[in-house]
Symmetry: C2
Subunit: 340 residues, 2 copies
DNA sequence: TGCTGGCACTCCGACGGTCTGAGTGCCAGT
DNA sequence: ACTGGCACTCAGACCGTCGGAGTGCCAGCA
């Protein structure tokens, strides 16, 4: 019946909330004290039996309270919780903290710190990825003799440079350089990075044969800059929070730490979770995780400004509403800052 | 008497070695089995009593074996151990692994990984510090309108850039820019970074008053690049090893992890330990550490190529000879690679 | 039909006592 | 100066007991 179905969900929600708070299995009596369910302990017990049947909660042993399963958390996240809005204080703290950043590295460092201290979990952030960024400007600078410095400026603030040897003496004000510069910029500015190499190759067709050698070298340098820096990076903060989170990681603590050092894995994880569109915050709970060593953890992540992913990793016993709110708020601010 | 003094030191050495291996307190009998001391258990017991008197070892409780104290490890490191040379295999592994690096970030990342997996401790490495580096080249690039990009290339391979607004329209081939570029380079190339701002200020005197504004902006940008990036960085690897190292960190694990995230502290630590000259590997044991949360750990560190510090952090129960050998060898290779 | 109070049952974890073995300190003998 | 022997200590393992928390089920009630 719908009414009692409803109550059962209330019970599940109460169990999740209490268990997250106390980290102790929660029994029928304890529930009544903290929540106004309007029914007796016996009824709650019946409900719990059903919830257990359905695989949403489980009892560590005969005479202990219940603990949510991964499926229980999943239901809680999907249907029983609203994202907690952050307090004014928290918002202004985020703003203040992030606005102090002086450069991209600093933004990333501050963001992860902030997120880990807001959530008391491990914070993970992907560097703004080149592959989703666009070209802001390309600069070519003769730096003596046949050498040319190629500088690629990306809209996220990253700068890549290469020095190449063109095999031909170049005057600092050579027409060739000025010409190439304006052509390269006109075909690439505003475009996403991955499309750049193709555009440049197309451009080569139009270059006078005697200049083709120089142009090719430039194109290669830019393609190289794009490719090499697509090796993306990821930054962590707050690993100590894992150790602090009590008995949530009986023995697996070190394997979780190991997993977190596998940046390649984290990148893939961020990548897969950041595909969610818009403001969505993705949550992956326990066994849902594709990567085995993280099967004892939950991941709450989102993408920021189309440039990369960011989120937290923690025990499945996590305050999801709070974590989701923090992740979302921080992602918004970061996107804003990177745009500016 | 000198002979028995000698034997007592043998006993101490044996205790340290066994304890490091097994992480169990070592008793008089166990010692006899593993080491040829040529005396009876009773004699060893007497020696141990003296060692305990001297504060070099201690018994966790009445009827357990002995465990080295910080002072015991100190004596062991100073007088009882030789730095274990690495095996051929290890050396070639180091070489192979580090030579695959593609850029500075990669060198640092690979180095810390390598060191943590060689020693099974947490590896720490300071980025090659700007303050001991020299200027390789300075480039000034007009990028449209009054804006000028200032690029600083450092001999360790780092590149810093700033975009400044000069307040004056600049043609791409402006004489002023070319002139400034050559002047700035001539007074700064090859000099250590910290001396650069002063040189530039001196240079300003010689600039025509009408150009002074632009020159000042450039000088400020460079000074800024030097200063801001003297905010040094540090990279860690292998924190999972801490969790693995058994009961060496009863409760303090999370505070140690916290401490390791305080990069400022690590930098100071590296700084203070890297003052040792030449090939020396510095060891700081337990309570010797200046920073409180690291009083339960030992640090083995050295400097590489005058550019920064590098080392490992682990429990005081550490294989010092092995750690020292690994740190020294890795530091040498890194210095070599950064030079090339 | 769904809720409730009551009751018997289970089982974890704390407590206290016992025992054993490893390890010690000391002493008398060589 | 070293050794064998001996009495002593004590942490940790083992064990049975007990209390309490929590459950499942049932009969009764709205």
């Amino acid at each position: 019946m719908s009414v009692s179905d409803d109550r059962r969900l209330h019970v599940l929600r109460a169990i999740v909330q209490d268990y997250v708070r106390t980290s102790e299995p929660v029994g029928s009596k304890a529930l009544l004290e903290r929540h106004q369910l309007g029914v007796s302990a016996a009824t709650v017990r019946n409900d719990m039996a059903v919830l257990e049947e359905e695989g949403l909660i489980t009892a560590p042993h005969t005479s202990a309270g219940r603990v949510p399963t991964d499926a229980g958390y999943r239901l809680f996240v999907d249907r029983l919780s609203a994202v907690k809005p952050l307090g004014r204080g928290e918002r202004s703290a985020i703003e203040r903290f992030l606005h102090g950043a002086v450069d991209l590295d600093d933004v990333v460092a501050r963001t992860t710190r902030l997120l880990s201290s807001l959530t008391h979990q491990v914070a993970v952030m992907q560097y703004p990825s080149l592959s989703r960024s666009t070209v802001r400007h390309v600069e070519l600078v003769p730096i003596g003799g046949p050498r040319l410095m190629v500088v690629l400026i990306v809209n996220t603030g990253r700068v890549e440079q290469r020095v190449i040897d063109t095999g031909r003496e170049l005057a600092p004000d050579a027409d060739l350089v000025a010409d190439l510069r304006s052509r390269v910029n006109s075909v690439s500015v505003g475009l996403p990075l991955p499309s750049v190499p193709a555009r440049l190759n197309a451009l080569l067709e139009d270059v006078a044969p005697e200049d083709r050698h120089v142009a090719t070298a430039v194109a290669r340098a830019l393609a190289d800059a794009v490719a090499e820096q697509s090796e993306e990076r990821v930054v962590l903060s707050g690993t100590a929070n894992l150790a602090r989170s009590g008995n949530d990681f009986p023995t697996s603590l070190s394997s979780v730490l190991d997993a977190l050092e596998e940046h390649v894995v984290l990148l893939r994880l961020m990548g897969s979770m950041a595909t969610v569109d818009g403001d969505q915050v993705a949550v992956s709970i326990g066994m849902e995780n594709p990567y085995e060593p993280l099967r004892t953890t939950s991941v709450v992540a989102t993408s920021y400004g189309d440039a990369g992913g960011l989120g937290v990793v923690g025990p499945t016993r996590m305050d999801y509403p709070q974590a989701m709110a923090a992740v979302r708020a921080v992602a918004r601010y970061v996107a804003e800052i990177l745009d500016g």
